[in-house]
């Protein structure tokens, strides 16, 4: 069993080594046709730039790094040249910005010009990266069925291991996650070889070449699947965990990945039916609305569905089941947090201070998202171009860009997932997700959901608080005999699972009002003169 595990580690390491190593190899050869297409699509007017790049790159073999560097250097030089002219022709200036240039300007050319081994052997390339990592991952986790002993809570050594207790392995993992997201969001031109590993799958699904987001989709689903297997083994005694993990995995693979790709194959808009505004912050952007309006009946349905999801379905479901129905049963972010993130759940901060920070941040993001969307809809219906300045020198496009950069990319991706091994697996969901904030209001004030405390059985051991990924001090409630009703609870059910005394139960009771959060002065089990007993609400 141990041997299988070790081979698994080796295979996984090998898969990742190939995957990462390919970033530093590979060749590009830009043909004349590719080059001209690119110049045209990017609307480049600077002769200086064209003269200097055409010779340097067309029909030359070079690495991604060289190609990117030449384009970047020449674009800068071209801008300098244009500005040194007696009269600057602003249409010939190439707008450069670190967060956009690589992804929007260089990447398309690099993606179109890649040649070499990775491109010629898509199947083999897939097998020795994804294949090795997936197989290795399964070989690491499946032996746990035997190695961890009889079914039950097995958290032995979690706080004594470098990977799960903010040790060196934890920090290296965090660095790897963050680096990946930075490349994915801002520098996809450097991960073209990794993207090629899934090109065959994309070709098969929709006949298109894979881009960085398709790579991300395949990685997301693969990682979730392997770590779902880990969950199935770790919590095999717990039907709630088994069912929840199965459902969240299903929604990611079907609704987050396959259905959108199939839609694309049929020339329909890429659409994730489970992604609700304001988490899906681009839903009301003009290009999305126009795209849906131009996509026939299905497009109209998608538009109505998206609005109904936010306005009707989400609050009604939260009323009946709590926000868990979304956050830990359906959501893609939640799905990754509950699978890949499960080994890190204990790292969330439980202090009162962090709770204060959490409330300011998450509600701040909700306000930001709402204002941005309001502005977007205003300019849409007022027929104002989105790049036109509205006030204070700011356009709707500016606000959208800021949101996309700070919240959509940095917060939810680089920090949200990158910080799993440092701040726990729900950094985004807890501190940033505007949809979670919205559902939180419903859950806190008008819902049947609560975590019931079992009378006087709590021994204040702290397992529940420790393993709460949302940083809720569950014990603080349990030891007072109070139900846990918190806007941030995503209902993962782990507090109940790790409780050694059977104190916590997630349930949807019939009462939705004050009795849900009521706390008695003394706990059940103390029969002292009940007549003078005082009751209060918290």
């Amino acid at each position: 069993m141990k041997a299988i595990k070790n081979i698994g580690y080796f295979l996984t390491f090998l898969g990742f080594a190939f995957f990462i190593g390919s970033v530093f190899t590979g060749t590009h050869k830009v043909t004349t046709a590719t080059y001209e297409n690119w110049i045209q699509s990017k609307n480049i007017k600077s002769e200086y730039f064209i003269n200097h790049t055409q010779k340097a790159i067309v029909d030359q073999q070079m690495s991604t790094w060289e190609l990117s560097q030449i384009i970047l250097d020449q674009a800068k030089a071209s801008n300098q040249y244009q500005k040194s002219q007696p009269k600057t022709d602003w249409s010939k200036i190439i707008h450069l910005k670190w967060s956009k240039t690589s992804k929007d300007f260089i990447y398309p050319l690099a993606r179109a010009s890649v040649i070499g081994w990775y491109k010629q052997h898509p199947t083999l390339w897939f097998l020795i990266t994804f294949g090795f990592a997936i197989l290795g991952g399964l070989m690491i986790f499946i032996p746990n069925y035997k190695l961890l002993g009889p079914a039950g809570i097995k958290n032995n050594g979690i706080f004594q291991h470098s990977a799960t207790n903010k040790g060196i392995i934890g920090f290296i993992t965090a660095f790897f996650f963050m680096a990946f997201y930075v490349l994915l969001y801002f520098f996809p031109n450097y991960i073209i070889n990794p993207i090629l590993s899934v090109n065959g799958i994309n070709q098969f699904l929709s006949g298109n070449d894979a881009g960085q987001w398709f790579l991300y989709g395949v990685m997301y689903c693969s990682v979730m699947t392997v770590f779902a297997v880990r969950m199935f083994i770790k919590y095999r005694h717990n039907s709630y965990q088994l069912l929840r993990t199965t459902v969240v995995l299903f929604f990611q693979i079907a609704f987050g990945f396959l259905i959108p790709e199939i839609l694309v194959a049929f020339n329909k808009p890429w659409f994730d039916f489970k992604n609700a505004w304001p988490l899906n912050y681009t839903f009301f952007f003009d290009y999305n609305i126009n795209n849906l309006l131009n996509s026939g009946h299905l497009g109209i349905f998608m538009l109505v569905w998206g609005i109904a999801l936010t306005v009707i379905i989400v609050p009604i479901m939260v009323y009946f089941y709590g926000k868990r129905w979304y956050c830990s049963w359906v959501c893609g972010c939640g799905g990754l947090a509950e699978t890949l993130g499960d080994p890190y759940r204990q790292l969330s901060d439980k202090s009162l201070f962090s709770w204060k920070v959490e409330r300011w941040l998450i509600h701040g993001v909700l306000v930001f998202a709402t204002l941005m969307t309001a502005l977007t809809l205003y300019v849409y219906f007022a027929h104002i171009e989105s790049w036109k300045v509205i006030a204070f020198g700011i356009s709707a496009y500016d606000v959208q860009t800021w949101y996309g950069f700070f919240i959509g990319s940095i917060f939810s991706g680089v920090i949200g997932t990158g910080f799993y091994p440092i701040m726990g697996n729900r950094v985004w969901c807890r501190f940033g997700c505007p949809l979670a904030a919205y559902m939180g209001f419903v859950q806190r004030f008008k819902s049947k959901f609560r975590i019931t405390t079992n009378g006087g059985q709590c021994i204040s051991c702290g397992n529940c608080s420790t393993y709460c990924e949302q940083g809720i001090d569950v014990r603080a409630y349990a030891q007072k005999g109070q139900n846990i009703v918190r806007s941030s609870c995503v209902g993962c059910g782990i507090c109940s699972a790790v409780c050694p005394r059977g104190v916590l139960k997630l349930e949807n009771g019939s009462d939705t009002g004050i009795s849900r959060t009521q706390v008695n002065d003394i706990l059940l089990g103390n029969d002292m003169d009940l007549l003078s007993m005082t009751k209060k609400n918290s």
Binding site: G149, P150, A151, G152, I153, N155, N156, G157, I158, F159, Q160, H161, H237, N238, S239, Y240, L243, S351, L352, T452, N454, G455, G456, Q457, I459, S460, C461, G462, N463, S465, T466, R475, A476, Q479, G493, S496, A497, V498, P500, R501, G502, K505, L506, E507, G509, S510, D511, S515, I522, L523, L524, G525, N526, D527, M528, D529, S532
Partner: protein
């Protein structure tokens, strides 16, 4: 302003302090030599096992005490002067009090075994014990645990989690069978063995042998067997930790003797928690109960007395819980190891051998008396109510779905349980659907 001094920062003392603060502006001081801040003793095992860090066992953040004006003194009380109302601490300072609460908890029993003070021989009670276990577990080849109670079980689980071989010496013929009926006890025996613990029932410790460095190297049992080991856990129960009261005027027997108001023989001095011994009998409870929640209830109670509402210590229906490796245990009401004359029992066990319910009821009146459950969680609130309302065994069985506290989507067994009861008792009961109305009633 009245100065209330509490000796001991366990659950009893800290609960008292919190409730006094809620009800008054008194000056409150808690003295403890063990740790500065309150922690959950029951969670120490999880720190060793790596489930938690020590800080996670502290239910309140460190700022809590200052904010609530509860002064913490880390020292050991050497002497109590009851006439001058003065405490002498081991750091040569004195503290005067108006009201004193003794909440010093327990200390592990040692029965004069030869070698019981060797290095590598320890109990499992205090933070200091945990530190010592951590130190000696590092090079431990085999651990022997002596004493078949809950703390012994915890220790066995701790070492097993580190893949240290464990031999578990239990005096009784079956694990914890003075408390658990035979069926439950047998289920736990099997589960212990499933976890590869070398369980030795009906076996006593004779002596612990020393190596040349004064560390335990083996133990000898009353079966004449010598078992080599370099760590010995002594977990043969606990007794009130009251040796520092020896020369005071405070009356003690095994514990500090208190009346129903938790007052000792000296006015303004109270005792609560594990160290208190009730002079009058409360139901079928023992005079000394070293249980987490009774400590808490005594703290809740004494706070009211000190704040001017004299209140009797009135624990309600007996309940308790524990966890044996992967099997959770809960009990509500009374179900003793052997049935009393008026009692009838009904036992159901799942075929996987890891879940059971054991009901106790009156043969004639059919009144429900108590229940043990292994592997299935039950709702405290309902059992407490049913016991108060003296419901019949039939009522309890018919409404068992209301009381199921297992997580959602768990398989439920009420029908199977009732079918077995019907066939044994010639009844025709059926399980009623779960009703929120009844649960919240």
């Amino acid at each position: 302003m009245k100065h209330v001094v509490i000796i001991g920062n366990g659950i009893a003392g800290v609960t008292a302090a919190r409730h006094i603060r809620k009800k008054s502006d008194y000056h409150i001081t808690i003295i403890s030599s063990e740790t500065k801040y309150f922690f959950s003793r029951t969670a120490l095992m999880y720190v060793f096992m790596g489930h938690m860090k020590f800080e996670h066992t502290q239910p309140y953040e460190n700022w809590f005490w200052k904010k609530n004006r509860i002064e913490l003194v880390q020292a050991y009380v050497q002497k109590i002067d009851t006439t001058l109302k003065k405490l002498v601490l081991n750091n040569n300072t004195t503290i005067t009090f108006d009201d004193l609460i003794i909440a010093t908890g327990s200390t592990p029993n040692k029965f004069g075994w030869p070698g019981q003070n060797l290095k590598g021989v320890m109990g499992m009670y205090s933070k200091q014990d945990l530190d010592e276990i951590n130190r000696y577990a590092k090079d431990c080849k085999r651990a022997v645990i002596v004493g078949g109670g809950l703390i012994g079980f915890e220790m066995a689980e701790m070492f097993a989690s580190k893949n240290i071989p464990v031999t578990f010496l239990v005096r009784e013929t079956s694990f914890w069978n003075k408390v658990l009926p035979a069926q439950e006890s047998e289920m736990i025996n099997k589960h212990i063995k499933e976890h590869h613990i070398d369980l030795r029932l009906n076996t006593n410790l004779i002596e612990i042998l020393s190596d040349e460095h004064g560390r335990a190297k083996a133990i000898v049992t009353d079966k004449g067997e010598t078992i080599s080991c370099n760590l010995v856990g002594l977990t043969a129960g606990v007794s009130p930790n009251i040796s520092f009261l020896k020369n005071s005027d405070i009356k003690t027997d095994k514990g500090v003797l208190v009346n129903r108001n938790l007052e000792t023989n000296i006015p303004n001095i109270y005792a609560i928690g594990d160290c208190a011994e009730q002079q009058s009998v409360i139901g079928e409870r023992r005079p000394i109960e070293a249980v987490w929640y009774t400590g808490r209830i005594m703290g809740e109670t004494v706070a009211r007395t000190i704040c001017g509402i004299p209140t009797k210590y009135s624990p309600g229906h007996w309940f308790n819980s524990a966890k044996f490796f992967d099997i959770e245990y809960q009990t509500y009401g009374w179900i003793t190891a052997l049935p009393k004359e008026n009692e009838a029992r009904f036992y159901w066990e799942h075929k996987d051998g890891k879940k059971c319910l054991h009901f106790n009821f009156d043969k004639i009146s059919r009144k429900f008396i108590g229940i043990n459950t292994l592997g299935i969680r039950l709702r405290h609130q309902l059992f407490d109510r049913w016991l108060t309302e003296e419901k019949s065994i039939e009522y309890v069985l018919e409404h068992l779905k209301d009381a199921n506290f297992d997580p959602e989507f768990y398989k439920q067994y009420e029908e199977e349980i009732i079918t077995k009861f019907n066939s044994e008792n010639g009844t025709t009961l059926t399980a009623k659907k779960k009703s929120w109305k009844r649960i919240f009633a």
